[in-house]
Amino acid sequence: MKKDLCFGPKKLYGLKMADLSVDLGFLQLQNPVIAASGTFGYGLEFSPYLDPNNLGGFVVKGLYFYPREGNPPPRLGETPCGILNSIGLQGIGVKKFVREILPQIRKYQTPIIINVCGEEDQEYVSVVEFLNQHPGISAYELNISCPNVKKNGRCPALDPQDTFSIVRAVKKVSSLPLITKLSPNVTDIVEIALSAQQAGTDALSLVNTFLAMDVDPQTRKPTLANIYGGLSGPAIKPIALRMVHQVAQNVGIPVIGMGGIMSGEDALEYLIAGARAVEVGTANFVDPESTVKIINQMKKYCEQKGIPRIESVVGSLKI
């Protein structure tokens, strides 16, 4: 356990403001903290709690071409240091999004990333082709790793071939940089990462949620109507961090790390392990100001340690 206490107020004489910006190659972020898909709504829900302009970026909730009903409730459960969800990507579809949401969020200076979903390869392509025509988006995050859509958590990110073919298909039509989001539910995450890289993705983000379940012994029913769901939150951090470390060591493209980030220290662990930026998910529910607090904690860390540029922390694990 490390302590957030380290971030307590300390007088900082003569220290310059740390430069938190990171360069993803295709995109420069003012800081490494991106709000994760499905946990930040469409970007408007958090405006009473923070100014989205202060974030490194935000990813909107997964979008299919068509509106989706999502799964029946209960859709959420709490587990030790984690949450289980089977939202099932309920959503408004890409057309309504462009009509009703995009005009409202386009005004933010911060990069907007669209989490692209599809039942079949063709639907992913349709989403991207449609969105290509609408300005105000900085990148696509290809969600090939949601465990809540098909039976038993099947998704393209479980297989290197499936990953290759979908990434290739989307990359071909995309006019924006492509981030491919990987699943942790695999034996060899590096193999999948290399497939996505070979297919031309510009970056990787990982991890999506872990396929999991919970049971109420009093009723003998699963907590989720859907039986299985995705586990996220601090519980998964050590596994996700290991995967980010493995992938970052083996690919030549930027890696965006996530899983259980609750504090600036957690985010820094991912950077040290090799991630160039991070996404923050579940923490947004626990405290809607989380992303901004995490950014401030990272800033303090750099200032206290005399680190002028946070990019120098990336991949700096001491072995």
Binding site: F40, Y49, P73, L76, M262, F285
Partner: protein, 260 residues
């Protein structure tokens, strides 16, 4: 909006039921009956999520919550002491819909168990609306009616029931309501409690063509419309949808709710 250091000013305990009075001028001044709060129980990571609680009352710069110890989060909350501070988001959601046509009319409020929590705030507001307020309050046994005295003190017309007959009418509060109904002729009904209870009252009031509103519960991840976890089946312009109750509820009208 967030109060990260709202102080507990007063605490009252009846077995598993707890009433906390909390200092928060902001929440107090902004709240409507039926709205709720998301409270972080402690800064550790287990339990992780905030827990939703209805606003039980506002008085001056203070608010109250009333809850039942029914699991890890509420049990930790029940151990908080005076001067402890709470991290609270709120007020959230939409409250009960109060319609000018109700002025000077008779209304009925029905609370089952901890479902009484939001109705006290509502009752106080309705009284000054003004309306004639009758409160039905049911529980398993007489120990599950801890707010009885308080409601009597405030001189609300009170009808109590217990499943075991240890106090008041013997049976469900929905049955008591049904039995008493002919003599009441309310212009509106507001209810909160176990789903089965609300469902029965919904059928009954629809039969009688009396508008009714229900405060629904669901597992909530965020309380602010971001996680899409808290959905209930709601009729919207004819078609049914999964609607986030934290945002568009937790109060819905009888005719909107698709009971499961």
């Amino acid at each position: 909006m967030k109060d990260s250091q709202a102080e507990i000013i007063h605490k009252q305990t009846w077995n598993e039921y707890i009433l906390l009075e909390i200092y928060s001028p902001r929440i107090s001044s902004q709240s409507q009956p039926g709205q709720f709060l998301m409270i972080r129980i402690n800064p550790q990571l287990h339990p992780l999520l905030r827990r939703p609680f209805s606003i039980h009352s506002t008085k001056g710069s203070r608010i109250e919550i009333f809850f039942q110890n029914s699991g890890l989060g509420t049990s930790l909350l029940s151990r908080k002491k005076i001067h402890d501070q709470l991290d609270i988001i709120g007020p959230l959601g939409k409250g009960f819909f109060l319609d000018n046509s109700l002025r000077e009319k008779e209304v009925v409020l029905i609370g089952g168990g901890r479902g009484i929590a939001p109705l006290f705030f509502l009752a106080q507001s309705l009284r000054t609306f003004p309306c004639g307020v009758k409160i039905f309050y049911g529980g398993k046994t007489h120990k599950d009616l801890p707010l009885k005295d308080r409601l009597e003190e405030k001189r609300f017309d009170l009808y109590c029931s217990t499943d075991d007959g240890s106090y008041g009418y013997k049976g469900y509060v929905s049955e008591l309501f049904e039995a008493t109904f002919p003599s009441l002729n309310p212009k509106a009904v507001f209810a909160c409690g176990p789903e089965e209870m609300m469902k029965k009252i919904s059928h009954l009031t629809q039969q009688q063509k009396i508008p009714a509103q229900f405060s629904l519960e669901s597992m909530m991840g965020c309380g602010i419309g971001a996680c899409w976890g808290c959905v209930k089946r709601i009729k919207k312009k004819g078609s049914e949808e999964w609607i986030k109750i934290c945002e568009e509820g937790p109060v819905f009208r009888s005719e909107e709710i698709v009971w499961s």
